[in-house]
Every structure is written in structure tokens, then in C-alpha cells.
């Protein structure tokens, strides 16, 4: 625990020091003044005699921090012999960092040198390394600072010139100087390179070529900037998101950002499927099915059946053969040959590989964004320092509404009080009974929820068994799995999610296990696709109802009947879990209804506008302060782990183990969907080893299990090494902290010594 030593107090100004040599704090570019520093220094110098004694007390109790503040010692004595010490202290590196133009310039000179030597630019965590300019540049402290600054400035300009344009631009943007200063630096670092270009240009044919080239380059540069601005502006909903952030803060904004992320994932899934599967099949429609095709009524959008069954929407529409472009008979009346024009397009293979490839890309993107988000929000040792973070980072400067800012003040007060209370609790004695009671209550609540979940699961399973027995394969079941939907405003949060996931799991088992058997002669894949479509539509209807009743009606009731001015809170957790549930349905259904991501995209777009309107009109920001960055990590992790993983397991099982139906779809003649790939590989093998290396890859890397073990072992080794590295880094951090605290004590000791030396000099004079 740090032993704070008193160091500062207010002291009346010492006028003499202002007539001394120019110091870093006299400059016009600096935004601060230093007269307070001098006051502080004169007081601390006066106290140094006392401090030496205090240090000797060693590990004093923290209470001395209050009692350590000494009374003012006569300022006249302090002033007389401390000006030299003061000047040295005022130009110490730690006091001038970022305060004076000279210090900033030398700091950035160091950075550009490091950049030029190809050391990687320090990230946020590593910025501290460059914060102190090297002492080498500060050994001339007592010289007039102006001359040194000119030197440093010319050095900086030279360094800037040797950077690339992009690096220079980034460095200039990031300098904490005024715009005029930056402009002159930019001009100086550009003129010389401009002169070089001019000299080279004179060797050209005509002098006006140089001017033309410059104009062209500038025009292109302008066009590039304009394009960038256009791309930036194309980001959907930027203005709406800024308004939401300004009115409600970052926590509510995180919900809408998550919605945008889901939109991106669905677009990523839809594009390859659309291009390689749906588009091709739509261009080459299969032969019309026997029997009458039902007419299109509007009800199909709700039930997913009827006319939609005979479109590209569902698995059953896709043909199981190789698609050829329609042959055009030759102009001289000949027959169209077998493989005349164009490449034959193997539909089953395309279907399997596109869906598999899209899932693989989604998996990689999801894992990458999850790890990136985790890396951003977790820092080694970040669990300590909660108070500092609350004080400095909890005020959301984006907020522009008075009501929201009042809410923020309240939130911060509550948070600070909670933090302090927690700290006290931890220090206080822990009663065993109290803790046991807490644990017992928590356990009871969880048991209750699990029991409800189990009950619902059993009910769903029994119901589905009943449906199989009652109507053995005729018509459509009234598949209203409304039991899976509970309004989010019940506020059950993660338990709600568990309930829904378990029910989805039961349904999946039911479909792949029992329905396949029951619908042997029919298209069970179409059935599963329709069920999932209906679930999605129902999910959308329930979200609408929830928004209507949970937010609008609640606000009306509370305003009119209860006469309270409080609007209902926006339930972030519930809404996010709804989104994750909807996305799980999409991922489950992509194999059986390739256009399901398109439906999900339309649903998400509608949801954005509905939720935004309802939020603006009816809701207020939540009371409990949320750490926005941690929340987005949690959302993405929940999306990855129960949701995507479950869908991937379902997909793998459906592809590898389940027999596709014999009457419809691209895999109708095969035993499993995966066989399409195997058949193709065998055909390639028969064609001979010179045709392709794929069969070799398939035989030795995919069907062989040894590579899988090898890769798993390597991954485990890498993970273990990373864990050890993190442990080592933690130890280094502890050692560095100790070192810094020792350096602080050294500093105090040296200052005292310095003061006593000057004091002796003054006395001997």
C-alpha cells in the first residue's frame, strides 16, 4: 500500500523568479502557467527538513497522510535560497512533459526516430514508454531553452521528412500542438521534398510538365479524399446512432451497435449463398413438379408454406443434378452436343460447399471479433484501479441532454458509494452465517429456474411426440411453439436464454431424430425449414408485442394513471438476448432454407427503426451504469458460444449423419449430404492423379485422423505458452511497480540533498 508523503501546498507567489532566464513555461503555445509550480516548490523546499524525518518513520499508518501536512514555514526564508533548486525542479522531465512546446517537440522527435528505425508504433498500453523524453536531450537544462528548442525543432522536421507521407500525416495529427504550429511543421517538412521533386522535374521535357503532374496528383488526392468521405458517409445509420448515444449514453448504444454487427454477419452469410446457390438455381429452374402449384396468397409470408415451398426459399426446390446452360442448336441445324458451351455446374456440390464455406467464414470472423473485443476490454491487472477508472472514465462526454446528464450524475454517485461500500465490506469481518444465507438464496433461485426449464422441456417434447402420433404425415402441424417465447420484459435475462436454448435443442433433436423417420416419403428438410421460418416470424411478432406493451403502454399507464414522470427503462439485456435467439434461428435454418438470412436482414432493419422510435418516445436510460466495452465483449461471446456453436453442431450432424429425403433437394439419391463431396473426390481419383491433387489431400489429411491430433496438440501447446507468457508479464509488472516506488523515494532523497547543498552554499556566502 502506498505511503503518501506530503509534497504540495499553496504558497504566496515569489515575484523575483519571473525575471529569470526564459523557462519552458513562458511560451505562448502552452496552455498552462507555472507560477503555481513555483509556489508549490518553495513550500515543499521549506518542508524538506521535516520530510527527511518523516521518511525515517518508515511504515507509518495511512493516517499520517492527513497529519503530515505541515504548517507554512516562513515564506521569506523559503524564498531566499531556493530559486536555483526551483529552476532545476521546474525543468525536470516529469514536470515538463506535455506542458511545453519544447518538450512536446523532443517527445515527438523521439517517436519519429523510433518509427524510422522500424520499431513498431506503441499501442495504447505501450504509450508510456515514449512519455519521457530521453535524458540525453535534457542535459542542457540551465541553458536558454529557446536555442535548444530551435535545434530540436529542426531535428524533428528532418525526421518528419524521412517518414512516409502516411506516417507523417498520422504523426502530425496526433501531436498535441496548436494548428498553426502543426501547419508550419507540415510546410517545412514538405518544402524540402517539394524541392527535390522540382529538381528531378527540371530534368524532364518541359517545365510545364511538372506543374501538370502536380495538378494531377493533387486532383487525384482530392478525389481519393472525396471517395473516403463518401465511404465514411455510407455507413448506415451514423446520424441516428450519434443521436442515440447523445441522448441515452453508451450502454443503450451498445445494443444498436450489436444489431449492426448482426446485420453484417447476416450479409456475410447471405452473399456467397445468394451468388453461388440461389442465383444459379433461379437462373436454371428445375423441371416443374407434378401436381398443381398453389397460388400466392399473402398468408405465405406468415406461415412459410404454400407457394413459397416451390421457390428457391426452401431446400426442396434445388435440383440434384449438374446444371448445364440450355443448349442452343447450331445454326446449321445440327444437334446440341453434350458439353458444348459453358461449364457444367454441379448443384449438390455447390450447395454443400457454399453453406459449409459460409459457415466457416462466419466462424473465423466471429472468433476474431470476439478475441479482438476481449483484447480491447481486458488488460492485465485491470481489476485493480476501479476507483481511478470510475473517477476519470465514467463520465460519458457524448451525452448532450440534460435529463441524461442528471441520470449520469446519479449513476456515478451510486457507483462510487457502492465501490466504497464493497471496499468496506471486504475489510470488515465476514460472518459465515450471512454468506451461507446469500449462497443458499442464490442456489434456490437457480434451482427454481432450472426446474421450470426442465418442465417446459418435457412439455415441449411430449407435445411433439403427440403431434407425430396424432397426424401421421398429413397436412401441416399448427407448429406454434409459443411455449418457447416469454416476453423479455419479464426481466429473466440469462435464465430466459437458457430456457430458449434448451427448447431449441429439444426441437432440433426432435427434427433430426424423430421427424426424419416420421416423414420418410416426404420432404422433411422443407418441413424443418418452414418450422424455422415460422419461429422467426413469431419471434418478430413477439418482439413487436413486447415493445408495444412493455414500453409504450407502460409509459402511458405510468404517466396517466400513476401520475409518475418516470418512463420505463430500456431493457438492454433482454433485447440483446432476443437478437441472439433470432440469429441462432437463422444459423440453424440456413441449410434448409437458404434465403433465411435475407429474411433475418429484413427483420433486423425493421427492428432497428421500431426500437429506435420506441426508445426515443417511451424509454429512459437504465439506472445501473454499464461498462459499454465489457458489455459488447459479453454479447459477442454469447453469440459465439451457445448460439453459433449449437448451430454448427446441428449443421455438422445434419450433414454427416442424417439421411436426406429421397424425393426432394440436391442430395436425394445419397446416403448423407457429405457423400456428395466423397462421390466427387472418388470421381477425381478415377480420372487419374494428373487431374488434381485434391484426392491426395482428401485421403491423407481429411480422412486420416493423425493430422487432426497433430493440429490439436500444436494448438494446446500454443495456448499453454501464451498463458505462461502472461504469467511472466504479471510478475514483471509487479517488479516494475516496486521499482517505480523506489525511484520515487530516490527522487525525494535527491531533492532534499539538493536543497541542503544550496542551503549550505547560501549560508557560507
Amino acid at each position: 500500500m502506498a505511503q503518501p508523503l506530503p509534497f504540495v501546498l499553496n504558497v504566496p507567489e515569489i515575484p523575483e523568479d519571473h525575471d529569470r532566464e526564459p523557462s519552458p513555461y513562458d511560451e505562448s503555445e502552452v496552455h498552462d502557467s507555472f507560477h503555481q509550480l513555483i509556489q508549490e516548490q518553495s513550500q515543499c523546499v521549506a518542508e524538506e527538513g521535516l520530510e527527511l524525518r518523516q521518511r525515517g518513520l518508515g511504515a507509518a499508518a495511512p493516517g499520517t497522510s492527513g497529519g503530515g501536512r505541515q504548517a507554512l514555514v516562513g515564506p521569506e526564508d523559503a524564498a531566499a535560497h531556493s530559486t536555483a533548486t526551483l529552476r532545476i525542479l521546474a525543468s525536470m522531465p516529469s514536470r515538463t512533459i506535455g506542458r511545453s512546446r519544447g518538450a512536446i517537440i523532443s517527445q515527438y522527435y523521439n517517436r519519429t526516430v523510433r518509427l524510422r528505425r522500424r520499431v513498431s508504433r506503441p499501442q495504447l498500453g505501450g504509450v508510456g514508454r515514449s512519455a519521457r523524453p530521453s535524458l540525453r536531450l535534457y542535459d542542457l537544462e540551465l541553458d536558454p531553452a529557446a536555442l535548444e528548442e530551435e535545434e530540436k525543432r529542426s531535428l524533428l522536421v528532418k525526421e518528419l521528412q524521412s517518414l512516409t507521407v502516411a506516417q507523417r500525416g498520422h504523426m502530425l495529427k496526433g501531436m498535441p500542438l496548436g494548428l498553426a504550429e502543426k501547419r508550419s511543421l507540415r510546410e517545412e517538412s514538405r518544402t524540402l521534398t517539394g524541392k527535390h521533386r522540382e529538381r528531378r522535374g527540371r530534368r524532364g521535357l518541359f517545365p510545364c510538365c511538372g506543374w501538370l503532374r502536380d495538378t494531377c496528383v493533387l486532383a487525384l488526392h482530392g478525389l481519393g479524399l472525396w471517395l473516403l468521405a463518401g465511404l465514411h458517409g455510407l455507413k448506415p445509420w451514423r446520424y441516428a446512432l450519434k443521436r442515440i448515444g447523445g441522448q441515452f449514453g453508451s450502454s443503450v448504444l451498445s445494443y444498436f451497435l450489436f444489431l449492426k454487427t448482426l446485420l453484417a454477419f447476416n450479409a456475410l452469410l447471405l452473399l456467397p449463398v445468394l451468388a453461388l446457390v440461389v442465383g444459379v438455381q433461379a437462373a436454371f429452374p428445375p423441371p416443374a413438379s407434378p401436381g398443381p402449384v398453389p397460388a400466392f396468397t399473402g398468408l405465405e409470408l406468415l406461415t412459410g408454406g404454400g407457394r413459397l415451398t416451390h421457390t428457391v426459399m426452401y431446400y426442396g426446390y434445388y435440383s440434384n443434378s449438374t446444371l448445364n446452360p440450355p443448349c442452343v442448336p447450331a445454326p446449321d441445324g445440327g444437334q446440341c452436343g453434350r458439353e458444348t458451351d459453358g461449364l457444367p455446374y454441379n448443384m449438390p456440390l455447390a450447395y454443400l460447399f457454399t453453406v459449409g464455406g459460409a459457415f466457416f467464414i462466419t466462424c473465423i470472423t466471429l472468433v476474431y471479433s470476439m478475441s479482438h473485443s476481449f483484447g480491447e476490454s481486458y488488460r492485465v491487472g485491470s481489476t485493480s484501479g476501479v476507483h481511478a477508472i470510475t473517477v476519470f472514465c465514467s463520465w460519458d462526454h457524448k451525452v448532450t441532454q440534460r435529463r441524461a446528464s442528471r441520470l449520469q450524475h446519479d449513476n456515478i454517485r451510486t457507483h462510487l458509494k457502492e465501490l466504497l461500500a464493497e471496499g468496506q465490506l471486504r475489510q470488515g469481518p465476514r460472518s459465515v452465517c450471512g454468506r451461507l444465507r446469500q449462497v443458499a438464496v442464490l442456489g434456490l433461485v437457480w434451482l427454481l429456474c432450472l426446474a421450470i426449464t426442465l418442465g417446459c422441456t418435457v412439455a415441449v417434447y411430449a407435445f411433439s411426440e403427440l403431434m407425430i402420433q396424432v397426424r401421421a404425415g398429413s397436412g401441416r402441424p399448427p407448429g406454434l411453439w409459443a411455449g418457447g417465447q416469454t416476453p423479455a420484459s419479464l426481466g429473466m435475462g440469462p435464465r430466459n436464454l437458457i430456457l430458449k436454448m434448451v427448447i431449441l435443442g429439444i426441437l432440433c433433436y426432435h427434427w433430426l431424430g424423430r421427424r426424419v423417420g416420421a416423414l420418410r416419403d416426404q420432404c422433411w428438410e422443407n418441413f424443418v425449414g418452414q418450422e424455422l421460418y415460422r419461429l422467426m416470424v413469431l419471434d418478430f411478432i413477439f418482439i413487436l408485442l413486447d415493445t408495444l406493451f412493455g414500453e409504450l403502454v407502460w409509459r402511458l399507464i405510468s404517466e396517466r394513471k400513476l401520475k409518475r414522470k418516470e418512463k420505463p427503462e430500456f431493457d438492454i439485456a433482454g433485447n440483446v438476448l432476443e437478437l441472439i435467439y433470432g440469429q441462432t434461428l437463422t444459423w440453424l435454418g440456413v441449410l434448409f432454407a437458404p434465403l433465411l438470412p435475407a429474411v433475418q436482414i429484413i427483420k433486423l432493419v425493421f427492428l432497428f427503426y421500431i426500437k429506435k422510435t420506441s426508445l426515443m418516445a417511451n424509454c429512459q436510460a437504465p439506472r445501473r451504469p454499464w461498462l459499454a466495452s465489457h458489455m459488447s465483449t459479453v454479447f459477442i461471446s454469447l453469440l459465439c458460444f451457445p448460439s453459433f456453436l449449437g448451430a454448427a453442431v446441428f449443421l455438422c450432424y445434419a450433414v454427416w449423419q442424417v439421411k436426406p429425403s429421397g424425393t426432394c433437394g440436391p442430395f436425394r439419391t445419397l446416403d448423407t449430404m457429405y457423400e456428395a463431396g466423397k462421390v466427387w473426390v472418388r470421381r477425381l481419383e478415377k480420372a487419374g492423379p494428373r487431374v488434381s491433387w485434391l484426392p491426395w489431400v482428401h485421403r491423407y489429411l481429411v480422412e486420416n485422423t493423425f493430422p487432426v491430433y497433430l493440429v490439436s496438440a500444436l494448438l494446446l501447446a500454443v495456448i499453454y505458452l501464451n498463458i505462461q507468457v502472461v504469467k511472466g508479464q504479471r510478475k514483471v509488472i509487479c517488479l516494475l511497480r516496486e521499482q517505480i516506488s523506489n525511484e520515487g523515494e530516490d527522487k525525494i532523497f535527491l531533492i532534499n540533498k539538493l536543497h541542503s547543498v544550496y542551503e549550505k552554499k547560501e549560508r557560507s556566502r
Binding site: A2, F7, L225, R379, L416, I740
Partner: protein, 177 residues
């Protein structure tokens, strides 16, 4: 605004073209008519009453840090918007955050500064002495590494580097209102 000026501002700040133009419009609306935007200045009060800063408890410090002699030129406003923009790099934000939180401008965030920061955050007059002292002591014990009872720039930087929320919360949109 000339195209070259716009390009220059884009090269020297983190703002996008649209943001610069919006700030330019707002600036022209507020400054006295007839003056060229490069010579006009705004007072601290005018900038404090912008919608983006109106409810910010630190608006006087922000205006003090970014203005020259208590007036804002157009380039000062751009500099301020650039530091608070979304694209600004963390080191720049930390640099200016330190200056803003340093109320007594002695180059350190000491006990007095911390108390003022907490009072501004809570925005009420009846804050108990105990709460202030407790919070201040906790912050110093967590972040003050060399035991001098103050946060130097490096210590502040180190504390903010541990918090990913800093970048998120230290943003103001000066345009689009």
C-alpha cells in the same frame, strides 16, 4: 472555405470533411457577421453554450485548455473537435484529458484536483467529506506509483491505458446538432 484549406484541415486533424464543414457552418452562425472565419473569434461563454458542451460538468476546463487568451479562433475549435473526435489516437486524448483534469495547472493531478473532479462528477453541494476523502485516497493508492501523493502524466497515462472505456467516453460530437 477554399478547397486547399479544407484539405489542410483534413490533413492536420482527425476530423472528416463533413465534420469540418459542419463546424465551419456553426462557427459562422455564432461569430459576428461580416468577418472572415479566419479572423473571427468566439468567447468562452459562446463555446460553453454549444449544445455539445452545455451539460458537460468540465466545460469551463475544456474551454480553458483549448482557448488562447480566453478566445476561440476557428482553428482552436477545430483542434478541440479533433481531440474529441472518434478517430483521434489514444495518446492525444490522454494528453488533453490530463490537462483538463489538472485544475490548478501545476502539471500534476493532486489531491485538490481530484476532489474538484469528484465534486463536478457528483454535481451536488451536499457531498460528505468522508466520501471525498475516501475516493481520493483510493484513487491515489491505486494509481500513484511513486508515492508523491500526486498523479504525474505517466501515472495518469498508465491508469487510463488499463481502461478501455476511456476512449469510448472521451468523445464529443461537435457537429450534427
Amino acid at each position: 472555405m477554399h478547397w486547399e484549406d479544407l484539405e489542410e484541415y483534413q490533413a492536420l486533424t482527425f476530423l472528416t470533411r463533413n465534420e469540418i464543414l459542419c463546424i465551419h457552418d456553426t462557427f459562422l452562425k455564432l461569430c459576428p457577421p461580416g468577418k472572415h472565419y479566419k479572423e473571427a473569434t468566439l468567447t468562452t461563454d459562446q463555446v460553453s453554450s454549444l449544445p455539445a458542451l452545455r451539460v458537460n460538468p468540465f466545460r469551463d476546463r475544456i474551454c480553458k485548455v483549448f482557448s488562447h487568451d480566453d478566445v476561440f479562433s476557428f482553428e482552436d475549435v477545430l483542434g478541440m473537435a479533433s481531440v474529441f473526435s472518434e478517430q483521434a489516437c489514444p495518446s492525444l486524448k490522454i494528453e488533453y484529458a490530463f490537462r483538463i483534469y489538472d485544475f490548478n495547472e501545476n502539471g500534476f493531478i493532486d489531491d485538490e484536483d481530484l476532489r474538484k473532479v469528484v465534486l463536478r462528477l457528483l454535481n451536488s453541494d451536499d457531498v460528505s467529506e468522508d466520501l471525498l476523502t475516501d475516493v481520493t485516497n483510493h484513487v491515489l493508492s491505486e494509481s500513484d506509483l511513486d508515492n508523491d501523493n500526486m498523479l504525474s502524466f505517466s501515472e495518469f497515462e498508465h491508469a487510463m491505458a488499463k481502461s478501455p472505456d476511456f476512449m469510448n467516453s472521451f468523445r464529443i460530437h461537435f457537429w450534427g446538432f
